[in-house]
């Protein structure tokens, strides 16, 4: 109501453009939780629908990307909420022509057993190359919370990445 119509239209355009450009990013993020192509696609499709439908609730088009990630993460969350257990890849029916399974069992298990948001921080940081500020917006948390998640996640994975140091000598 309090937005001019053309501002509203341009937001929708921006969102659609981003969706069509980055759908695979959302897809692979979703797949890392669902291990099912169908479910991951569902999440991206539903997320895209909501992003357009509720485009007016995007306050600042400068942050459209994180805003869309937020929606996708909510869809992932909803999916996780509906399942009792996080599936392992072995449980899922063999995907058509998918030989490139995630190889390392320990690592995958560690990621799967993490808090879903801690996992999201790791993946968004290292696989999607998002800044911590962008991740904070996507998770709707403040920066320090995101940092704790990151370090907690890394500790769990027992890794030390180059640019993170968390007081260990």
């Amino acid at each position: 109501m309090f937005f001019e119509k053309n501002r509203s239209d341009s937001k929708e355009k921006i969102i659609e453009a981003i969706l069509c450009d980055k759908y695979n990013n959302y897809y692979r993020l979703a797949y890392s939780y669902t291990y099912s192509e169908a479910d991951a696609a569902d999440i991206v499709q539903e997320g895209a629908y909501k992003a357009i439908k509720y485009s007016d609730s995007l306050k600042n088009s400068q942050y459209a990307e994180s805003w869309i990630y937020r929606i996708m993460l909510n869809e992932i969350y909803r999916f996780l909420g509906k399942r009792k257990e996080i599936p392992t890849e072995d449980e899922m029916m063999p995907q058509q022509g998918k030989e490139d399974q995630y190889e390392n069992i320990d690592l995958k298990r560690a990621l799967d057993n993490m808090d879903y948001k801690d996992k999201a921080v790791i993946e968004l940081r290292y696989f999607e190359d998002m800044t911590l500020e962008e991740i904070a917006r996507a998770l709707e948390e403040n920066l320090s919370t995101v940092k704790s998640r990151l370090y907690r996640g890394l500790r769990k994975l027992r890794l030390e990445m180059e640019d993170e140091s968390y007081g260990k000598k």
């Binding site: 309090f2 929708e12 659609e16 969706l19 069509c20 759908y23 695979n24 897809y27 692979r28 797949y31 890392s32 192509e37 991951a40 696609a41 991206v44 499709q45 539903e46 895209a48 629908y49 909501k50 992003a51 357009i52 439908k53 509720y54 485009s55 609730s57 306050k59 600042n60 400068q62 942050y63 937020r70 909510n74 909803r78 490139d100 399974q101 995630y102 190889e103 390392n104 320990d106 690592l107 995958k108 990621l111 993946e123 290292y126 696989f127 917006r137 709707e140 994975l157 027992r158 890794l159 030390e160 990445m161």
Partner: protein, 492 residues
Amino acid sequence: MGRNDLKRNDFEKYKDAYTEKSMSELDVQKMKNRIEQAKQEKKAEQEKQAVAQKTNQRNTARKWYAVAAAAAIIIAVPNLSPKAAYAMEKIPVLGNLFRIVTFRDYTYEDEKHSADVHVPEIQVETEQITDLQVKENVIKSSAQINEKIKELAEEKIAAFEKEKDGEGFHDLQITSEVMGTTDGYFTLKLVCFEAMASGYEEHHYFTIDLETGKELKLKDMFWENTDYIHAISENIKEQMKAQMAEDENKIYWIDSDMPEMDFQEITEDTEFYINEDGKLVISFNEYEVAPGYMGCVEFVINSEAVDNMKKPVAATMANVMQAQVGNKEISLENITEYDQILEKLPAGTWYAQVQLETAKHPILLVSENVYDNGDGTMASIYADLFAYNEEGKIVKYGTLESTGTAYPLAASENFLFQAGNHHVSKVYVGEDYSAMLTKEDAVETFDKDGNAYYYYFSIDDGYAGAVEDESRLYGLFDEMAAAEVISFTEKK
């Protein structure tokens, strides 16, 4: 290779596997279809809203003109001293009394900063107010409200000016509108929207009680010693839970894993207004009780929640040209017979006509929900009330509402009854007055510690205040029991 390097290696491999995943063409097409679907649905909704808004604006404008035509008789909250005569006082109507002008326009536009601010100011034509005390109060309260609005706006404009030369993005919008509300109140809504890193919207409501001329505060609507804060807050929490159960996309801060952040209680300063049905609406700004994406949220407070705490409204004026019946808005233009109203309503609506002794015409009650009162009578606890006003036009005066099926709406020779477990209200529409009047109203209410208090209102005695015991209340319960349960007929 160190252990760490091994893990790094695995991590890179994992990343490769992760990055390889991609959507099939079919799924990408499905996504695009969903996008189109969303666009279509949005367009359809926007068109619906545009029509509704236009109708609303037209209605509000019409209401003011129509009210200007009739003699306005307004007695809102009985705050007057007992000796004040409850004789009807003619007060000038909204259309002539208040005017909103723009005190200040502030606009600015560059790449990263934009401001679109219209600061409203309430102006009052006071010569027409005959009661000197009310006149003085109106002048004071409108000045106070204007001060508050200016302060708010100036603060935001100043902050904006400071940021203007900075790098960050800043968007500021301030706008206002006069709210549709029941007669007896004047409400101005101020909307402030600000966006920097993220957006933030706040709504402010300023209401003047036209009976006293003073600014209406939440506590003015309730008897003393009633724990309305708690009752209202509990009702809101119930509604939040219900909404979340129904729609998984809604989140309110209640029963969350961060209880310190949860919504606890409203305060006396929580934003509120009275809507067109005379119901209390509580308004929360963004981030007050829910995450930002929920926006500003509002809750209409159920009557049951505050049934025995609210002070009665002595007189409710008629909403002349339009009437809300259930979910439908029907126009009362050119309506001279009740049958014409019934024609406009869907089959399955129920109605009853009640002839009070002192009235020239019968009253029409319309209800959507009835129940068998045990003896085959179809009774109701919620009905819209229509009657002829002093000009012979059919108007909607308001609604009758009981807060439990133990108290079906009833009528005696001269009065209509509505009640709840601790409350009885006796009303009527006389042919002399263009209002639905409360003859008597009694409540039993309890404070936080469970102590009982009794309040009583009587139009004849000119009394509105505390009484010693439950005798008045029980007297009214007896009267109601002796009255006849109103029997509704189904419209085929």
